[in-house]
């Protein structure tokens, strides 16, 4: 008790409260292990180019080192004919490189998400084999590679959507709750009207005007997703603005903005953070369903929803549906488990469980 407790990890100050929360989080074993597993999977998928790619990570040709992972080299570089980027899977290019006494280090799966395997023994979709451990889809692309890239884009999309939606939602809820009165009344009515707009139809209409890409989808979804947090944050601000310490801060002359950030927001963040994993889950599921319906990412991009659709269209090739299902199910379950542990960590009854006497 006596030692000043100001431990810092990087720039993050570890308060006793956060330390208690972290231990509550760890106490939920399932959530803790889910966080590790998810963290490792997501971390690996960020380096998908090094795991599944149609070009070597590194190669030697004529005594010099090339890194095709980072840079496109024309085929002429290796003594070929074409000015176009080298196709390292082409036996001719492979031969050119090995004949010069060079070598290549290939990733674990020698296919990128859009690589078409022209050597499958049966018509696509091909069943799992040594070459394609999860089989190929109906365009002869490696399912394992597509799952890795699809997982990455799903999580990144989910994170980005959650991040932007949270910022807007927290801001809107904070303004409504803190100022109350007319501001609250009008904004709340706006939120109600806005959340009544049919999101899916707008996306369908949009996809007939522009080709939706990652950022288009993100932008449109953020426009509709931010309302999810408004009610929670608004309620917290409404409650907190009459607290004595907020009054004391006003009496000290703090500006509204500072009071909102320093005094009220940290209280509202508990509810917000508890919701985040579930919003993240919802975002991922939405992207998947849009892809499944065909209104999502542009054709050809690796996506779990598209894989699911292929599974539905090719019931004779169960590896498609099963791979997609397992990937989505495991990803969403891990996130839900993490979410539960986060909820435990921020549960005031657990955090202050034995401090009732103050």
């Amino acid at each position: 008790m006596s030692a000043p407790r100001n431990d810092k990890i990087m720039f993050w100050r570890v308060t006793p409260l956060n330390a208690r929360r972290w231990s509550n989080f760890k106490a939920n074993r399932r959530g803790y292990w889910s966080l590790w597993i998810f963290g490792i999977l997501f971390g690996l998928s960020l380096f998908a180019e090094f795991i599944a790619n149609d070009r070597p990570i590194i190669l030697e040709y004529n005594g010099s080192i090339y890194m095709p992972v980072f840079k496109d080299y024309p085929e002429t570089e290796f003594g070929g004919f074409f000015e176009t980027p080298a196709d390292y899977r082409d036996p001719y290019v492979k031969e050119l490189i090995t004949e010069s006494g060079g070598w290549m280090v290939w990733p674990l799966f020698p296919y990128a998400a859009d690589t078409i395997n022209r050597e499958i023994p049966v018509p696509a979709p091909a069943p799992p084999s040594l070459d394609n451990p999860l089989g190929t889809d109906d365009q002869a692309r490696d399912v394992a590679a597509r799952v890795i890239y699809g997982f990455r884009i799903s999580v990144l999309f989910g994170l980005a959507l959650t991040f932007f939606a949270t910022i807007i939602g927290v801001w809107a809820g904070a303004v409504q709750g803190y100022f109350g009165g007319r501001t609250d009344l009008y904004m709340q009515r706006f939120v109600e009207v806005w959340s009544g707009l049919p999101e899916l139809f707008l996306l369908i209409i949009l996809s007939s005007i522009v080709t939706p890409n990652f950022w288009w989808l993100l932008g449109i979804m953020v426009l509709f997703r931010w309302v999810a947090l408004v009610d929670v944050v608004r309620a917290e601000f409404l409650r907190a603005r009459n607290f004595d310490y907020v009054r004391a801060a006003r009496a000290l002359g703090l500006k509204d903005r500072n009071i909102m950030f320093k005094h009220v927001l940290p209280n509202a963040m508990v509810a917000t953070i508890t919701f985040l994993p579930f919003i993240l889950n919802g975002s991922i599921a939405t992207l998947t369903s849009l892809d499944f319906l065909g209104f999502g990412l542009p054709p050809g991009s690796a996506s779990l929803g598209e894989l699911l659709k292929q599974g539905k269209n090719n019931l004779q090739a169960p590896w498609l549906g099963i791979s997609a299902f397992l990937t989505i199910a495991i990803m969403l379950s891990l996130l839900i488990f993490i979410g539960e542990a986060v909820r435990d960590a921020f549960d005031p009854r657990k955090t202050f469980g034995n401090g009732g006497k103050g």
């Binding site: 004595d244 310490y245 004391a248 009496a251 005094h263 469980g353």
Partner: protein
């Protein structure tokens, strides 16, 4: 044989951090028709003792390692739920501190009481109604027939407590356990409720087990008293003897601790620091679709006063009389009409932004030491907040030095600035609040009931601290309180409020020794003698 015999009772709680010994081994007896007071500060185990008697604790989290509770010879500890149901609410009844949360908000008064009659006596229909009316008349809830259909929120605090008492008396219990029955009520109402309890006791011959922290109530009301501290009963005896001749050091300290004395002589001051003229705070009552303003709630109406540096103005009155509203409107935290002259400035003309430079001169300390400190900031961050707004030129070291200085000033170790509010007791938190106000070196501080959430001994320390700080910095205080003892200990002038209007205003000595209006007299009688006087003048 006594009616109730508690012998060497221990109550422990299992928690994550081991076993908490709430009651370590208390013994007391209660005879027919007598009043026994369990008195002690918060956390002393007095409520837990009473709940152990009723077997109302969260078992098995709570458990009794030893001891016995015998009611008319029957052992209650370990008695089955069946036995206890026959005793609870029937032979032993209980009333609680907060009548609003103890009544079901969805049931009418008639239904609340009728339910008990039905459960224990099997009374229904007209017989039950008749008994309900009889009970409500017994507890003096006027206008009974109209209030039978009232919901708890339609009643005032005192009326709710009367309904609670009627519920407790429904089955003519032998013992009434009263857990802080008047703490949530105004002094005037408190006196009425205590008188009611005493009348009922005499008429019905029941025993009362009174749990309270208020020594005045014990002195006036109890036959015998048990003084509890840290889970132990340290002294037992006839109330008169214990008060006249306390034996145990803790009792002596408790009795000596009550804030007493009068405000020290203030320094001669010629100039006026703050002058309020014709202050009004009206909230409009609107009606209809277009929200026409039909009338106003006059929270504060035509209040005028002046205050010099080094002086304290005590503001007293029942709850709802507008005490806090005056304080907030002087600080311009709520809008008001009327002139507020501070030094050379007219505050009433200033917008919130224009007020900012003046805020360092005018500060406020709130009542609830738990709600007034942000739980997520360290003590240092809380105290330095004002400096970040008003003295931005300070370097980090200078700011830290000022925070340390302020903490030392209020009697706290500067090392505490790295800790968080939840680690401190109520009194320490109140000191932190005072440090936050003082770090800016203000000239005027509004003290909004700063002592009413604290234990008596801590109250006295805070009062001493406030006096010292006033003498040192020549501070002007506006001291808002319903506790007239504390007001007498601090105030030079007193403003008595009723329904937003000033009823009496004058030097402290004059108001306390020679009150002019019936309302003030009633307040004084209730606060110092616990007597009911001038009933017409106060709210019922």
């Amino acid at each position: 044989m006594s009616l109730l015999e508690v012998k060497d009772l221990a109550t422990h709680f299992r928690t994550e951090n081991g076993v908490v010994e709430a009651v370590k081994g208390s013994s007391f007896t209660l005879d027919k028709g007598e009043t026994l007071a369990l008195v002690g500060e918060s956390g002393s185990g007095k409520s837990v003792s009473a709940l152990s008697v009723m077997q109302l604790l969260p078992y098995p989290t709570a458990f009794h390692p030893k001891g016995s509770v015998r009611f008319e010879g029957t052992e209650l500890i370990g008695a089955g739920e069946e036995t206890m149901r026959g005793i609870r609410g029937n032979r032993i009844s209980m009333i609680f501190q907060e009548p609003l949360t103890s009544l079901n908000p969805l049931h009418t008064v008639e239904k609340q009481i009728g339910e008990i009659l039905e459960v224990h006596k099997g009374l229904t229909g007209d017989a039950a109604l008749e008994r309900v009316i009889e009970l409500l008349n017994l507890v003096g809830l006027g206008n009974v027939t109209a209030r039978l259909k009232a919901y708890p929120h339609e009643l005032s605090g005192g009326q709710r407590q009367r309904v609670m008492i009627a519920m407790a008396l429904a089955n003519e219990p032998d013992i009434l356990v009263a857990d802080e029955p008047t703490t949530a009520l105004d002094v005037t109402i408190q006196a009425q409720i205590l008188r009611l309890l005493r009348d009922l006791q005499q008429r019905l011959g029941m025993a009362i087990l009174l749990i309270t922290h208020d020594l005045t109530i014990v002195e006036k009301f109890a036959d015998r008293v048990c003084v509890m501290t840290q889970g132990d009963i340290v002294e037992t005896g006839a109330a008169k003897e214990v008060f006249a001749n306390p034996q145990h050091p803790y009792t002596q300290r408790l009795l000596g601790a009550a804030p007493s004395g009068q405000a020290p002589q203030p320094p001669e001051a010629t100039e006026t620091l703050i002058e309020v003229e014709d202050l009004k705070v009206h909230f409009p009552i609107t009606k209809g679709f277009f929200r026409r303003t039909v009338d106003y709630v006059r929270a504060v109406d035509e209040v005028s006063f002046a205050l010099k540096p080094g002086h304290t103005l005590g503001v007293v009155g029942e709850s709802g009389s507008g005490k806090t509203t005056i304080g907030l409107s002087i600080l311009r935290l709520i809008s008001s009409q009327g002139r507020i002259q501070f030094g050379g400035d007219d505050l009433s003309e200033r917008s919130f932004d224009q007020m900012r430079p003046l805020r360092r001169e005018l500060q406020i300390v709130f009542q609830d030491p738990f709600g007034s400190l942000s739980p997520r900031l360290s003590v240092g961050q809380i105290v330095e907040e004002g400096l970040l707004v008003h003295e931005r030129q300070l370097s980090e070291e200078d700011r830290d030095a000022r925070v340390c200085e302020a903490l030392e000033e209020v009697g706290l170790d500067p090392e505490t600035r790295h800790r968080y509010p939840h680690e401190f007791s109520g009194g320490q938190r109140q000191r932190i609040s005072i440090a936050r106000a003082l770090v800016l070196k203000p000239r005027f501080v509004v003290l909004d009931e700063p002592t009413s959430a604290l234990d008596v001994s801590v109250q006295a320390q805070i009062v001493d601290l406030l006096r010292d700080l006033q003498a040192k910095y020549n501070l002007a205080y506006m001291f808002i309180s319903h506790d007239l003892r504390v007001v007498r200990a601090l105030a030079h002038d007193v403003l008595v409020l009723k329904d937003g209007k000033v009823v009496e205003h004058g030097p402290s000595a004059q108001i306390f020794d020679d009150p002019q209006t019936d309302y003030t007299k009633a307040l004084m009688a209730a606060a110092f003698e616990l007597e009911v006087a001038h009933v017409d003048a106060v709210s019922s």
